[in-house]
């Protein structure tokens, strides 16, 4: 395998801690280029922190990160990023197109305003997520799924070789979920690497080629086939996986009772 391209992301000896509490412990992992990579683990496992450490948003206690074989660069050849939806104030005075245009600022540089080329790029990104008709909508008026798609479009406008996404599938409707997955596949087809923090174990095998199982430390990493196994999941989730199993079983058995029309709830809504 000599002459193989360097891994898209290389994380070495990475430890992040808040005060004395470790959040990530000695992570060593290489993420191959051109793949859809899921990051899976229980709540508080450090999934978001791993993304933020790769992006340079948190300072690690030790370790380093390389992107495309080089120390992390910012701007033009940096990473595309889809943060958690709750990370910004959606009542901010901007519209959908304004937000997506922010993805082009890195290329624009200081003082220059987005022009026709940037607007076309932003509109193209909006089309990819099916939001072109809402370009002039105030962002406060969007549904949760639409907000998620705006963030995805902004990342597409960044046009980066590597994308990091923090729970893009969380709390979105089925249509948005399908639209996001479609975008992920398009990115992979274009040779981009996409790392996605994911919470839904049911869809991991369908969505991703490669998986990182994380719980403070890296439990396992590799192609889905070899890595996404029951033993590895048990090691990642501990006893909590059985709870998940039981919940899934209960849902399968449960029946939905019929309900007749009731007057709509009273005014206070």
């Amino acid at each position: 395998m000599s002459g193989a391209p360097p891994p898209a992301i290389e994380v070495h000896d990475l430890t992040v801690s808040y005060h004395a509490k470790p959040v990530l412990w000695d992570i060593d992992v290489e993420i191959p280029a051109g793949q859809l990579v899921g990051v899976v683990g229980p709540n508080g496992a450090g999934k978001s922190t791993l993304l933020r450490a790769i992006l340079g948003l948190v300072r690690p206690a030790s370790g380093w990160v390389r992107i495309d074989g080089e120390p992390r660069r910012r701007g033009r050849h940096g990473c595309g990023y889809v943060p958690q939806r709750e990370s910004v104030d959606w009542d901010f005075p901007v519209d959908v197109l304004d937000v997506v245009l922010m993805g082009t600022y890195g290329n624009l540089g200081w003082f220059r305003r987005p022009g026709r080329r940037e607007r076309e790029r932003a509109m193209h990104a909006l089309e990819q997520v099916g939001m072109q008709d809402l370009a002039r909508r105030q962002i406060a008026e969007l549904s949760g799924g639409q907000q998620q798609r705006v963030f995805l479009a902004r990342a597409l406008a960044q046009d980066a070789p590597v994308y990091l996404m923090d729970e893009p599938f969380s709390g979105v409707d089925a249509a948005t979920e399908a639209a996001i997955f479609e975008v992920l596949r398009t990115l992979r087809a274009a040779g981009r690497t996409v790392v996605v923090v994911h919470h839904d174990l049911q869809t991991v095998e369908e969505y991703f080629d490669h998986v990182l199982l994380l719980n403070l430390r890296l439990v396992a990493a590799g192609p889905i086939r070899d890595t996404f196994t029951r033993e590895n999941l048990l090691a990642t989730y501990g006893g909590r996986l059985t709870l998940l199993d039981e919940a899934a079983e209960a849902v399968r058995r449960g029946s939905v009772d019929t309900t007749a029309w009731r007057p709509p709830p009273d005014g206070a809504s």
């Binding site: 901007v94 549904s143 939905v256």
Partner: protein
């Protein structure tokens, strides 16, 4: 037209320029969550003014404002240091710094007054509540120059500051120096606050940054219009306050400017077309009335559905205990006037138009219910209980599927099949 004296004209120039700068700076401060910090900053300037007087013995503005700048900046740095890494919550740090610095300032000014009552008093008291009446042309021109520089800087860095205010993490990833941009913004806020001191005083300086910006936000939904409107409100408030104070010399200018800004805010809060209290209350009242109408039609429809042969009696509706007898009567009368129901020989009958609308209402409501029941991962924000037509809210294939499962259980309202999806 009020005749404007030379003195008043000078003061007008100064305060109007101040309002212009404060509106734009204040908008950015507000969006970056620095409104409270700018208030602490203003209060923290008082000890600096006093110390500068003690050191130089001069009442000239440049010396005193330099002192103000020094302790004001110190206060901001202290808040940042205290609240870094969550050591102390930021609001607590702001409260503590504001109170301590202001207390120190008051103590110092008390000491100064005792030592040299005549010389100090006028100058220092002016800084507490503002005293622009004695403004010199050179001072007014300085303020105007700084205001123009502020607007230029905001125009130059609007894109960068917009990004940092909206999503600082994303800005950092894209390679923008977030700390530098934050520092620049803080410097701009500091300059504006210090500039405002002679006009509106330590206690109220932050108000002319915060209030016009807050009022502007109620009218517009994009950044540049907000900056322009906030600056316009700032100028309007400054001019109004200054002219009122020139007309009624007993009333101090600074508080009048702030009051004028407060009035603009109050008016905006009441009548702004989308966020205003009146508009929201009107829309809510209309929504509620519509909802009641739909509820009545839906109830009559389901009663009829249960017993298709017999007309619906008013008593049957009353037994639903949704409305009291008086309200029910009024709603029925309203529905009759609108041509949805008529009083038949044995009770209430839906007219053709009424039946069609009722079927649509019941269908929409049941589809939403079915949607909630059957779709585990839903976009709750799509649900709109007031919508009678669902086609534009949910994808058509999903509506068809929901309708099928309703029809399977005999819950699809008769007469609604023909209505557009």
């Amino acid at each position: 037209m009020i005749p404007v004296e030379y003195n008043t004209a000078v003061v007008l120039l100064g305060t109007a320029a101040l309002g212009l700068a404060a509106g734009s700076t204040g908008s950015l401060a507000l969006l970056r969550g620095r409104a409270l910090l700018s208030d602490a900053l203003a209060h923290a300037t008082l000890p600096g003014i006093c110390l500068a007087f003690l050191l130089t013995g001069s009442r000239s503005h440049p010396a005193l404002l330099l002192g103000a700048l020094a302790t004001g900046a110190l206060g901001v740095v202290l808040v940042a240091a205290l609240s870094r890494r969550g050591r102390i919550k930021e609001d607590a740090a702001i409260g503590a710094v504001l109170a301590c610095f202001f207390g120190a300032g008051i103590a110092l000014s008390g000491a100064i007054q005792r030592r040299s009552p005549d010389a100090a008093q006028a100058g220092l008291d002016g800084f507490l509540l503002g005293q622009p009446a004695g403004m010199l042309l050179s001072e007014a021109l300085t303020i105007a120059g700084v205001a123009v520089a502020t607007l230029l800087l905001v125009a130059l860095l609007a894109k960068e500051w917009k990004l940092v205010c909206f999503d600082p993490d994303f800005a950092a990833i894209e390679g923008w120096p977030v700390r530098l941009l934050d520092l620049l913004l803080m410097l701009l806020i500091t300059t504006t606050v210090v500039l405002a001191l002679p006009a509106v005083g330590v206690v109220l300086a932050a108000a002319i940054l915060i209030i016009p910006a807050t009022a502007a936000r109620l009218w517009v939904d994009r950044l540049v219009p907000m900056l322009i409107l906030a600056s316009s409100f700032g100028v309007l408030a400054s001019v109004t306050g200054t002219l009122l104070s020139a007309r009624f010399p007993a009333l101090p200018t600074g508080p009048l400017i702030v009051l004028a800004a407060g009035c603009l805010f109050l008016i905006s809060l009441l009548v702004s077309p989308r966020r205003g209290i009146v508009a929201r209350a009107t829309a809510e009242r209309r929504r509620r009335r519509e909802r009641e109408r739909r509820r009545l039609l839906g109830t009559i429809f389901t009663e009829q559905e249960a017993a298709p042969e017999s007309p619906v009696s008013e008593g049957a509706l009353a037994r639903r205990r949704v409305w009291g007898p008086g309200r029910l009567r009024a709603h029925l009368e309203d529905a009759r006037r609108r041509g949805w129901i008529r009083w038949g020989p044995r009770g209430i009958e839906l007219t053709d138009a009424g039946r069609q609308r009722a079927a649509r209402i019941v269908r929409a409501s049941r589809i939403w219910e079915q949607y909630l029941l059957s779709q585990a991962q839903i976009d709750r924000d799509l649900i709109d209980l007031d919508a009678e037509e669902i086609g534009h809210l949910l994808p058509p294939h999903l509506v068809a599927e929901l309708e099928r499962s309703l029809a399977d259980r005999g819950l699809l309202p008769l007469g609604s099949e023909g209505s557009p999806a």
